[in-house]
Amino acid sequence: MFQLVLFYAFSAVLIGAALAVITARNPVHSVLFLVLAFFTSAALWLLIEAEFLAIVLVLVYVGAVMVLFLFVVMMIDVDLAALREGFNRSLPLGMGVVLLIVLELSVVLGGSGFSGKGGPVPLPEGGSNIRALGEVMYTQYVYPFEIASVILLLAIVAAIALTLRRRPGRLVQNPGLQAKVRPEDRLRILKMPSETRD
């Protein structure tokens, strides 16, 4: 009963936050509402005892991805008038895409896999979600898991390789050399006789 109340409360906040993401006029507010949406969905996952997923969602998306998002959004000066200019023109296309997504979702969710009757499989007494997940991931699905991680690594390397530019005339410091500097290299102490007044 209490869980049901919590579920509806979190769901209401989640839907409200998700709507606010696309309706907020200030892009920074949009990003913050997205953070709120992630938080509430993490809370929903906690309700079905998927604590690993919930914490990782907060850790990765709220803690790192959204910080970078916020970083970028704060730096750029968004001109809302220019953004809204083509709204009416692209409305039909947008509606078409949304309708397609709704159709696909209803087909998937209406199928046998998401009947909504079973709910999450209850864990054995004293069992932990993280342990169960880890055991499956590193035994049964070890190859798909490792391949996915290699693909991600490849994506990181590719992203860096694609955006790395070697511009001529760039001033670069060599920290190793900087750290090796001794006073004798930079400082010259002159010995000179004192001037006498005469």
Partner: protein, 352 residues
Amino acid sequence: MLEQAIAIWSQIPEALRTSVWIVLKIMAIILPLLGVVAYLTYAERKVIGYMQSRIGPSRVGYAGLLQPIADAAKLAFKEIVIPARANKVLFVLAPVLSFLPALVAWAVVPFADGMLLADVDAGLLFVLALTSFGVYGIILAGWASNSKYAFLGAMRAAAQMVSYELAMGFALIGVLMAANSLKLNDIVLAQQGGFWHWYFIPLFPLFMVYWISGVAETNRLPFDVVEGESEIVAGFHVEYGGMGFALFFLAEYANMTLISTLIATLFLGGWLSPFEHVPVLEQIPLLGQNGFHWLALKAAFFLFCFLWFRATFPRYRYDQIMRLGWKVFIPVTIVWLAVVGVFVHTGFGPWF
């Protein structure tokens, strides 16, 4: 009297009793923590004072002991000024967002065997998630203030805290590989058996990385470019006065306390006595026993180091901070994780 109280207590419904009990536990953690934070500011001024041949605060109360209270009273009664064209809601929300995670993370810290608020399965991840959330308060404060200096501070904070979080996370992976658990209580229990069983020996590089990243993560000197008095006035909190500023201040010191306690818990055996299984010393009443006093002592040492660093090191240059985080710490942790993997496989020493 006592019997009556017990009778009344047992008549309260079960659910209410649990929540009252939890609230009491939370108070038992937060109130002493605020006391520690208040007197940490006093200790900082005294310690740095003596390191610089001054005597520090000495006028309010005996040896200046009431100084933190006087400071708090002063800040509480100051006017809160909201700058022109600042984003009011976020301006007020930012200090709260920075203070909140600093308190919530204490829920999973074990103070003695089994003495913790919530024995979460993913305790270590929980701490990591919450400490990473602390950066929002700083970024939003800088942005909402509508001030160039504050914004520069916020940008620096975002870049610095995200970079050092990675190194911290990697260092924690080493600990959980060694302890085989994400529960902080189990991590401490896995280090039982005298100080040579503690993880700072096999995980020494990770210990150093975690320690230094912890200093960087709390934006303390020598990594305090976020505030950088000589460059950007006071960074993200330049526009804050009164309780807004006080909350940032409290958050910084609460985070220092949290990081110190976590280092003690993860690498130095938390509430374990170093003299476990040492023939003679084990018999000494307080020193040989495990308990909260050992955790407090270890955390106090790291807190002292925070103050010591501040008095000793000059501020890092910004690009050097980034280099240290990305090009030194992350490779070091990755290499050492491979070494730890070999350790775990071979069951090396008393640790694995």
